[in-house]
């Protein structure tokens, strides 16, 4: 998955500020990343880290109060600054999104098949019978049993997992080249989550799509993504191939997230290493590293200046003055 090919989506120094009542809130603060064809990229962070806003900004799905700067190029074409009309050409056709709550995205009064057919016709000039046929094919593609019968059903007749499959079918209606799954399995049970994740990866391989997983769940990201980006307070704080991130974690925040996950391997009643505090107020970020107030390794320089995100080792970026496991700090933490 190394960038031999050209990036499908290239985001450069993206900033999103919400103006409105009170002080402006810098939700995304200079984020840069690339997604390559066939790649699975996960963006991980807690509530308010900016992971969702940074993706919606690319899709043009933010409210009027959001001010965006920077660049987001899809297959070479700049998306930031396009009108809604121009963006609509890309949404669905090039980039599609699946959200956490399928019940809110589906129309409760419309048969699910018709909703998929509508998505097909929104982007392609096909007749109604053709759209219907394609909708049934899409239901089959997302492994829904007896698709002809399911076509006629309403959202409330389907389980949560089935509804999410329908959402994926709608997202795939125009064969997007990039699919963004925003907490798409968060509301589902573990066995259903595993089904949906397997489905997404199978479809990715079948259709050659790039896949972006937006999630709060680092374990999920580790398990399914090629590349993982960790965000904190609107910034990328670490990025590495999944295998590398979990064997050689550098950013203390990523380490704290990893250590806080309950594991099957832990003995009963094991205590989890915890950090105190809460993510900072995005309208009043501290000087220096945003994570410093909660960081067990923070020193004076962390509170004085912000560490830049840089590629310190091949393919591994982090933003920290005192990374975990650096030679000067041997024995500090394992």
């Amino acid at each position: 998955m190394q960038p031999v090919t050209e990036a499908l989506l290239d985001v450069e120094d993206l900033k999103v500020t919400f103006t409105g009542r009170g002080r402006p809130v810098r939700a995304v603060d200079g984020v840069s990343y690339s997604v390559y064809p066939g790649q699975t990229l996960a963006i991980v962070g807690e509530s308010g880290s900016g992971k969702t806003v940074s993706c919606r900004a690319v899709m043009g799905l933010l409210p009027q109060t959001a001010v965006m700067t920077g660049s987001a190029a899809f297959a070479g074409e700049q998306l930031i600054g396009l009108t809604d009309e121009q963006l609509r050409r890309h949404r669905g056709a090039d980039i599609a999104m699946v959200f956490q709550d399928p019940t809110r995205s589906l129309n409760p009064t419309m048969r699910v098949g018709s909703q998929i057919a509508e998505a097909v016709r929104a982007h392609r000039p096909v007749s109604k019978p053709e759209a219907r046929e394609q909708a049934v094919d899409l239901l089959r593609l997302v492994r829904i049993p007896v698709p002809e019968r399911r076509f006629e059903e309403y959202p409330h007749q389907l389980s949560g997992g089935m509804r999410q499959r329908v959402m994926i079918a709608i997202a795939l209606a125009c064969r997007p080249r990039l699919l963004i799954a925003d907490e798409a399995t968060t509301a589902l049970d573990v066995t259903t989550q595993a089904q949906i994740m397997e489905l997404l990866l199978e479809l990715q391989a079948e259709l050659g799509m790039a896949l972006m997983l937006i999630s709060h769940d680092l374990a999920l990201a580790a398990s399914y993504a090629d590349e993982v980006i960790v965000m904190y307070a609107g910034r990328i704080v670490e990025q590495a191939p999944a295998s590398r991130l979990f064997s050689r974690v550098r950013m203390p925040y990523t380490q704290a997230l990893l250590e806080a996950i309950p594991r099957l391997q832990h003995p009963a009643h094991a205590l989890l290493p915890v950090i105190g505090g809460r993510p900072p107020d995005l309208s009043a970020l501290p000087v220096g590293c945003s994570f410093a107030p909660r960081c067990r390794y923070a020193a004076d320089d962390c509170r004085a200046s912000e560490p830049p995100l840089a590629e310190h080792e091949p393919g591994h970026r982090w933003a920290c003055w005192h990374p975990v496991g650096s030679p000067a700090d041997v024995g500090r933490a394992s």
Binding site: T40, E46, S47, S159, G160, G161, M162, D189, V190, T191, T192, Q193, A194, Q195, M197, E198, L201, E202, A205, H216, D217, L218, A219, L220, A222, S223, Y224, D226, P241, A242, S243, L245, F246, S247, A256, L257, L258, E259, A260, I261, P262, R263, L264, Q265, H266, P267, A268, H269, A270, L271, L272, P273, V274, I275, G276, R278
Partner: protein, 350 residues
């Protein structure tokens, strides 16, 4: 488990709801014990009946049939003040802390409520107890005491809910998804708080959640629930290392590995692993399958599974399964080396 008398003993608990589309068989004959100082974890997915089970134990609402014996007294036979007197020793913590806290009250008033309801001590003694439990759950009485729920974060609100639950020094805490609405770093803090309270107060827990890794970490023993019935009960370590029920195996295999690429490898059918995913979805609890309720999704199901309901039987010390074709048949194998496993399991989870 131990030779001690169980603190809580649940037998053949049944809870049915009558709805206009039929009878919902939410809990269908569940039996288990919780011993003093022990944490029994119950893991189950949406619709497994685990939350109904928690409420039925507390008699809120009362179960359809079965017995719930706490320190030798069957709660299902008690009414009015006698039930209330026993219930003060069993407290509950819910998933949504804000839902269980009256938004108009201050933190001090919220923690005082159970103390007043049970007429414990005088005003000064209550004030002292409130300070004590707030500090116990990691809140500063001077800072947080005057706040109202909307001024609290999710983690702080859950601490207040826990403070209310432990104010009366209960013997058993029933927790229903107590951390699933919290971010992972806050979740870890609250889980550690439960562990500290266990050690400091000698609390027993009935800990209910959908996350098997989480349940295993806090529990001495783990019970797996599917569609209203327990399909496996055993020491947490044994359930994890040697699952006996095919559904337990499916749950274990659905937990995202923090081993990079594990999910990808499984999805691609690689690395010699069986697909980790069971197919299909849980059937409706209005029309549960005959025989074994898991059989419609089970890779090992045979005719017998439809005809005859498998009962919980002990295959190894303290490790019981309700399955005609458990993953390990002979009890002897269970005590032996894990090499005796009947299904492929990669080493990375061990």
């Amino acid at each position: 488990m131990t030779s001690a008398e169980p603190l809580l003993s649940v037998r053949d608990l049944v809870h049915q709801f009558h709805t206009n589309v039929g009878v919902v068989h939410a809990v269908s004959g569940v039996s288990f014990d919780v011993y003093p100082g022990e944490t029994l974890g119950i893991v189950g997915e949406t619709g497994s009946g685990k939350s109904t089970l928690a409420r039925a134990v507390l008699q809120a609402p009362r179960p359809t049939s079965g017995s719930v014996t706490f320190r030798g007294t069957d709660l299902t036979t008690l009414h009015g003040t006698r039930l209330l007197q026993v219930r003060r020793h069993l407290q509950m913590v819910f998933q949504d802390p804000f839902g269980s806290l009256d938004p108009k009250w201050t933190v001090r008033q919220l923690v005082a409520e159970p103390l007043i309801a049970y007429r414990t001590g005088d005003r000064a003694a209550r004030r002292e107890r409130i300070d004590e439990v707030l500090e116990l759950v990691g809140l500063d009485p001077a800072v947080h005491g005057r706040r109202r729920p909307r001024e609290l974060s999710g983690g702080q609100a859950q601490r207040v809910a826990i403070a209310r639950a432990v104010a009366l020094s209960p013997a058993l805490l029933i927790c229903d998804e107590p951390v699933s609405s919290l971010d992972v770093l806050i979740q870890a803090q609250v889980l550690n708080l439960f562990e500290r309270l266990r050690a400091e107060l000698g609390l027993s827990y009935l800990f209910i959640a959908h996350d098997l890794a989480l349940v295993k970490q806090v529990s001495d023993r783990v019970a797996v629930m599917y569609l209203g019935k327990l399909c496996e009960v055993g020491p947490g370590e044994a359930v994890y290392r040697q699952p006996l029920h095919p559904y337990t195996r499916a749950l274990l295999d659905s937990v995202p590995d923090t081993v990079p690429g594990a999910g990808r490898a499984a999805a691609a059918g690689g690395a010699g692993r069986i697909s980790r995913v069971i197919s299909g979805e849980p059937p409706s609890p209005i029309h549960p399958p005959s025989g074994c309720r898991f059989r419609t999704r089970c890779p090992r199901a045979a005719e017998r599974c439809a005809a005859e309901e498998p009962l919980l039987r002990e295959l190894a010390s303290g490790h019981a399964v309700a399955c005609h074709f458990p993953l390990v048949e002979a009890a002897a194998e269970h005590e032996g080396v894990p090499a005796a496993r009947s299904t492929v399991r990669s080493d990375e989870k061990i």
